[in-house]
Subunit: 404 residues, 2 copies
Amino acid sequence: MLWRRLRPPAVAAYAHRAMDQSETLPQTAHTHAVFEDGLLLECGVSLSQLVVAYRTYGTLNAARSNAVLVCHALTGDQYVAETHPITGRPGWWELAVGPGRPIDTDRCFVICANVLGGCMGSTGPRSPRDGATDGTPWGTDFPPVTIRDMVEAQRRLVEHLGISRLFAVIGGSMGGMQVLEWAASHPDMVFAAVPIAAAAYHSAQNIAFHEVGRQAIFADPDWQGGRYWASGRIPARGLAVARMAAHITYLSEEALTRKFGRRLRRAPDIKAGTTSLFGDMFEVESYLRHQGSTFVRRFDANSYLTITRAMDYFDLAAEHGDDLALAFRSTATRFCIISFSSDWLFPTAESRAIARALNRAAANVSFVEIASDKGHDAFLLDEPDFHRTLAGFLAGCAEHAGLA
Amino acid sequence: MLWRRLRPPAVAAYAHRAMDQSETLPQTAHTHAVFEDGLLLECGVSLSQLVVAYRTYGTLNAARSNAVLVCHALTGDQYVAETHPITGRPGWWELAVGPGRPIDTDRCFVICANVLGGCMGSTGPRSPRDGATDGTPWGTDFPPVTIRDMVEAQRRLVEHLGISRLFAVIGGSMGGMQVLEWAASHPDMVFAAVPIAAAAYHSAQNIAFHEVGRQAIFADPDWQGGRYWASGRIPARGLAVARMAAHITYLSEEALTRKFGRRLRRAPDIKAGTTSLFGDMFEVESYLRHQGSTFVRRFDANSYLTITRAMDYFDLAAEHGDDLALAFRSTATRFCIISFSSDWLFPTAESRAIARALNRAAANVSFVEIASDKGHDAFLLDEPDFHRTLAGFLAGCAEHAGLA
């Protein structure tokens, strides 16, 4: 009987052993720059002080012309190519950044900053609010930030490091949005731009998925209206649900099927009538739950709210008279637009639209769709065609820039 | 400045005015049949009593040969073609069922039963548990049910109504799973079968989306381990999040873009620094929140858990030696398989796989993909090509069945 093979073990439902709500996020020291003149945000609010946490890899050359800014995605951070200080896991882009890698730290000086609004040392909802003498954090009173604000914070850092022009700005997903914003706002500071698995605006479907995640956080009473620092309890359950929903969108149906199919996690229990419907039964469930529970140990719920909103706001054409080509008018930047065939969150059509706008602006642009069944997350994974494309484009640009 | 156009009004976050948790589901009287001999479920548990709530439309002919069973989807119910007793809204399939409609109640006797495990009168988690003298409901102790169990409950009803053979069994989504199970388990009782926007198994991605919904319910403290009836509080926030996540999968990106795009819901507020990031800003968010908040007024969270699990378990080929063709061996049933081009939850490829299995079984099968940009929910909407296909197939079958 089908059922016999499917019966789950008689375990307590995962919900009851899910997350330890008393866990709070670790306070970790991060390398950072402090800008005491603060930052005026697009929303009109002025932050009295700006902190940008960052990491660098490789050596800046004497001409200060080999700097590459890597922009991280929604839940990424500055630990690109080294062990993560909280999770102890490898850097999120070690496949692409390092000695002999496509973004070669033997030749380039790589910079990555935690985004404004983030939770790994840059100014964000975890930072003490302006005027607070007791260190009370902003929480959800942190002002709304935009992708352009994030870029502005990065620009401060880049100039602080004595760099007036970046050899390249590179990033995937939200990182790709930042790349586009950099190229549009500071074309003279960007020799080459590589937006990967990105789009020039956030679509209705993507806003909808973000909204589900936010509602999951709001629905967790431990969110406490965003003022959860006082109680020592964090909205771990809501944030985990948000992460789980988002994680599905980072994969493709093919990838999920290949990885998990309908495989069951445990041997069936033969005793009838003692079943629990809700323990993890299918491997895919166990995987998703793991994604949710590990995420809450390294990410702040208010940062998740702030950064998802920044992505939702993003609409580069709207900033330029609803014509994306105008965003790149007279640009001298060299672009390489990269998409992945099975990415349904930022589908190839969105990258093609960017390439077309750049064509209309008579920009120097190449566009590559990488055949992959790994979905949106392909840019983080071992995709040799992608890495060859990235390495090839950067090598060509290095020659043009006189770096070769 | 972009931001000026995007600034949300200074309203309290939606989360705080979201759902009235003290709302409980209304108790409504439903037409039903009671089977005192109960039902032995696939899991081995025996329900001591089986109640099947149902509605009928049209008149059974003297030969009792014009009965059409309509099978509802995950969150549907028996109110197919009449005003819903709780919401006051039209029946969920009035476009397809009624006088002169594709499923013509002037000619057919249409039956629709609330599924086993449901919350609209059939035996389910809201029913008094076996042995309880005080009416204590099953809650999450309700035994796991399968699509086959649902079909078995329907079969009891059909025989109770004096019908030994159905002219047609028709349903979309989970209803289509039931149609396939009917055709496989009781081929002699099914003259014609129309599985719409369905699949012969639940995919890893679909299981993953269901799991997110279940985790959202578990994360709501008002779920109270499933025993929420005692407190008078229901897990409205968790269930609303589950509904919101699911609802995105019922639509297509095209449909969301056409309906909402990036349109803002309200005029921007001009006062700086008083913004709330989290009120509904984009129309798509407002729409999703509405979907979530109305859903919890008519649906039981424990039923949602039970029925999503039933869908996850479904794997018709696995019940037949991993060969779907064997499920339909020697069938005389006439099949019409219908899919929608933009349905990514139950994509056309799944319907095609069913059609191929039926071909291998030498069954009488036609397969139609309807061009539509409305996504999975297209089967519920005004799709003239779909309705013509359904009407045409049923007219042909009526002729063959001697009903014309």
